[in-house]
């Protein structure tokens, strides 16, 4: 009885052990029904393996042979093709385990066949769960937890490594980037979300003088009300128009009429025509006249000038005919921002000499001088001339002082006579020396006891009255302008591109400042050159300084800028 096969089978729901004895030397194992050990599984070959009791000696071991040609039989977990086996060995074929044992000497080789318990479950069809999303391990809850932890962990990590910028509600302006991760430099924790950083934080570093004309009805706004940090402003100084329009959109003053337009929202939309500031004699403040109020727009500079005449071709110059241009007289300042004020010495003298008498040669009347100073100059010039031309006659003559009441000497009479003639020449309408530019008032009567001069001479008139000239140095004092960025335009189209009509202007009274429309050809919102309020206007009156405390030393700022 060489082999004994022990199997556990379930019959009518009861588990039983069935023992079969097999005679012969060869035990055939496989799926086929002609096998001694029938292993009914499709994973098992029809004839899978044999166990042969080859030897006749008591010590000879049974021999296992795999018939599949692919070593699909495992002995003690190792695939084999041929191997000796014995009691205690475990053979595995498909889902079956074959345990070998011997009861005692002369007893048959017992083969206990066991089947994997979960085989039945393994072979169950489960397509519905296989294709169903809800059976996956990555449920919505698990995914939610993972994503939430990533968000939380990422935030903690960012905070931990000092990337505090990720928590800021908006980018820091370019100038404050150096301190972007240093929140406590400006902020105090747990303040109300609608409150801004207090002014003392800002003025610690920045001098912020108050607004012009402290006439507003409300207290001055806080720094952060206009310079909104973390709110998308790259340059805090570039205050948005809305901040200005908050007051200037509906400007109210404590008393009287507002000096400025009372409803302005933006340059493009509703900025009024520019107003020039015309100085008025006897008034503390210059008069503001808008360029479109033609009847009031009169330049009362008390000076005569004809632009058209000056720009005419072949103008008689000191060295023959020449062509003047705007820049012959209007010169920019060192920064190129504004035009320097016109002066007689620099701009007029070259052509308009104040000569008065060929006798005294190249001598000209100094400018600017008041009439009494001119008279004193003339008397001194002629007295000097007399002395120089009558040197021999006067030499040896004792110096004298004319007694009061004594008649004037002939020398004094000559000087007085010459001065009268020179004044007549200078103040004449024909010669147009002084009268070319100035408007002189001539009082009637003779200068009997003139307080000016060393003497009074017959024919000497009362001194003319010269109205004080009032050429505005800044026509638009409430805005800032820079010619330099406009140089390309000036080169291409000339000054008249903006100062329209200058070449045709014949009247001194003409105001030749550019109208708002000429600026608006280039400067407008959405697509044009910059047109914010702050492009031309400043809020802080820089003439009123405010001291800052500077808690940052310059060295510290430099260090931060270098990233140390």
């Amino acid at each position: 009885m060489p082999f004994r096969i022990v199997r556990r089978v379930t019959r009518r729901g009861e588990e039983q052990t069935v023992t079969t004895d097999v005679a012969g030397d060869v035990l055939r194992i496989g799926r086929g029904t002609d096998n001694d050990v029938l292993l009914d599984d499709l994973g098992v070959s029809y004839s899978h393996a044999t166990i042969t009791l080859s030897g006749t000696q008591p010590g000879d071991r049974p021999f296992l042979r795999d018939l599949t040609g692919a070593s699909l039989t495992l002995v003690n977990r190792l695939p084999v093709r041929e191997a000796p086996v014995g009691p205690g060995d475990l053979i595995r074929i498909g889902p079956y385990r074959l345990r070998l044992s011997v009861g005692g000497a002369g007893e048959p080789l017992t083969i206990q066949v066991e089947e994997d318990r979960d085989k039945a479950a393994d072979e169950k069809v489960a397509l519905f769960p296989r294709y169903n999303l809800s059976t996956t391990r990555w449920s919505k809850g698990v995914l939610s937890l993972i994503v939430s932890l990533i968000v939380l962990g990422g935030a903690a990590l960012a905070f931990g490594v000092g990337k505090h910028g990720l928590f800021m509600p908006g980018a820091v302006s370019s100038k404050h980037k150096l301190f972007a991760n240093d929140c406590l430099k400006c902020h105090s924790p747990w303040k109300a979300v609608w409150k801004v950083v207090p002014d003392r934080t800002c003025v610690a570093c920045h001098a912020g003088p108050p607004h012009f004309q402290n006439v507003s009805l409300t207290p001055a706004p806080q720094c952060a009300a206009c310079h909104a940090e973390h709110k998308g402003q790259a340059m805090l100084a570039l205050t948005p128009d809305q901040k200005c329009a908050a007051c200037h959109g509906d400007l109210k003053v404590k008393e009287g009429e507002p000096r400025f337009a009372s409803s302005v929202h933006s340059f493009t939309a509703d900025h009024p025509e520019f107003a020039v500031s015309l100085p008025l004699s006897g008034q503390p403040l210059p008069k503001r006249v808008r360029l479109n109020v033609k009847e009031e727009l009169v330049d009362r500079a008390q000076l005569k000038l004809n632009h058209k005449l000056h720009l005419a071709p072949d103008l008689a110059g000191p060295n023959g005919p020449e062509q003047l241009t705007c820049s012959s007289c209007h010169q920019p300042d060192a920064q190129g921002a504004y035009m320097q004020p016109i002066t007689y010495q620099r701009d007029c003298l070259r052509c308009h000499l104040l000569d008065f008498d060929d006798k005294v040669g190249a001598k000209t009347v100094p400018h600017p001088q008041k009439p009494e100073e001119v008279r004193r100059f003339l008397q001194a010039t002629y007295a000097e001339y007399y002395v120089l031309t009558h040197e021999s006659e006067l030499r040896g003559r004792p110096s004298f002082r004319r007694l009061p009441g004594a008649p004037p000497t002939k020398e004094e009479l000559w000087v007085g006579d010459m001065t009268v003639k020179a004044e007549q020449y200078l103040y004449s309408k024909k010669t147009k020396k002084c009268l070319l530019c100035h408007m002189l008032g001539f009082p009637e009567g003779q200068a009997r006891a003139t307080p000016v001069g060393i003497l009074s001479a017959p024919g000497l008139r009362l001194l003319p009255v010269v109205p004080k000239t009032a050429v505005p140095i800044r026509w638009f004092p409430n805005s800032v302008f820079d010619h330099a960025p406009h140089n390309d335009l000036i080169k291409q189209k000339g000054c008249v591109a903006c100062h329209a009509g200058a070449e045709a202007s014949e009247q001194t009274e003409d105001v030749l400042m550019p109208s708002i429309n000429s600026c608006r050809t280039c400067h407008f919102d959405a697509g044009g050159a910059r047109a914010q309020c702050v492009e031309c206007h400043v809020y802080h009156d820089k003439t009123k300084p405010r001291q800052s405390e500077h808690p940052y030393e310059l060295d510290e700022i430099k260090k931060r800028a270098r990233g140390e």
Binding site: L127, S148, L166, G170, W194, H230, A246
Partner: protein, 276 residues
């Protein structure tokens, strides 16, 4: 379902959403004229508070739809409100931020919200298009009934393979392994082609296999082939139906986790802005 959740209650939520959107746009244009819009202005804060309240209401749908006994409105009403209020957040929150976004946790919260809303819109489209097609397929047999039918076929195949050659058994075994495999394929369905023809492929495979089968077993192999073709057909029924069923579910695997993460991000946003 005669009335869609989109037009529930005489389109009352559509009207509410549309009118609110109109009012919001007008208010924003007025607000923008007066100041630089951002989250800290009174209007910005108002938009933010409104947005948070709306998002919380939206989250309540997740709770309400699991409470079958609740009398607080109908599920359809809640879903309708969920859709239109959800779309409204895409207006409220950018207005709160003054339409300014950068690389920070605040924008992260917005991005998560955008993901939630976009996945929600995908969900709406799916809910409008998929169920009619699914009903059409379910007329023959429902996917969850197929397993039982397949089990019966497998038993027949096993019985047929009994005492057959190894070649025969191998074909049979391969089919059984294929149908009993445990690996999850729900997601794969969504991006594999629905136009592939596994039946034709299987026919070619069987024609190839028959050359290796001993002639004596050819008759039984024909029976086996018929059984196999039947399993493939049944599996295709499951696959087609599950592809649609899963499509109805899949967007929620983005929608729900993103909305939970959104709550976390909103929490971070609030701490960050209220701390300073």
């Amino acid at each position: 379902m005669n009335e869609s959740f989109l037009s529930y209650g005489g389109k009352r939520w559509l009207w509410f959403g549309g009118l609110s959107a109109g009012l919001l746009c007008v208010s924003y244009l007025l607000y923008r004229r007066q100041m630089l819009p951002h989250g800290g202005t009174p209007m910005g804060l108002t938009y933010g508070v409104l947005g948070t309240v709306v998002i919380l209401i939206l989250m309540v749908l997740g709770i309400r739809k699991r409470r079958y006994g609740s009398g607080l409105g109908t599920i359809q009403g809640w879903t309708s409100a969920h859709v239109y209020l959800g779309l409204l957040t895409m207006l409220l929150i950018p207005m709160h931020a003054g339409f300014k976004f950068r690389l920070d946790i605040h924008t992260l919260a917005f991005v998560l919200m955008a993901i939630v809303v976009i996945s929600g819109v995908v969900g709406i489209v799916l809910y409008r298009t998929v169920p009619p097609r699914l009903t059409e397929y379910e007329k023959s047999i429902q996917a969850d009934k197929v397993d039982k039918e397949l089990g019966r076929l497998l038993n027949e195949m096993r019985a047929l393979a009994k005492d057959k050659s190894d070649q025969f058994a191998r074909v049979c075994q391969a089919e059984i392994s294929r149908l009993t495999a445990r690996h999850h394929q729900g997601w794969r369905l969504l991006w594999t082609s629905q136009w592939a023809d596994p039946l034709a492929a299987k026919g070619r495979e069987l024609a190839d296999a028959v050359t290796r089968i001993p002639p004596a077993e050819h008759k039984d192999f024909q029976t086996l082939s018929r059984l196999i073709v039947q399993t493939v057909q049944l599996e295709q029924t499951v696959v087609t139906q599950m592809r649609l069923r899963n499509a109805l579910q899949a967007w929620l695997y983005i929608h729900v986790p993103a909305s939970i993460a959104l709550m976390v991000a909103i929490g971070l946003h609030l701490v960050a802005v209220f701390y300073y």
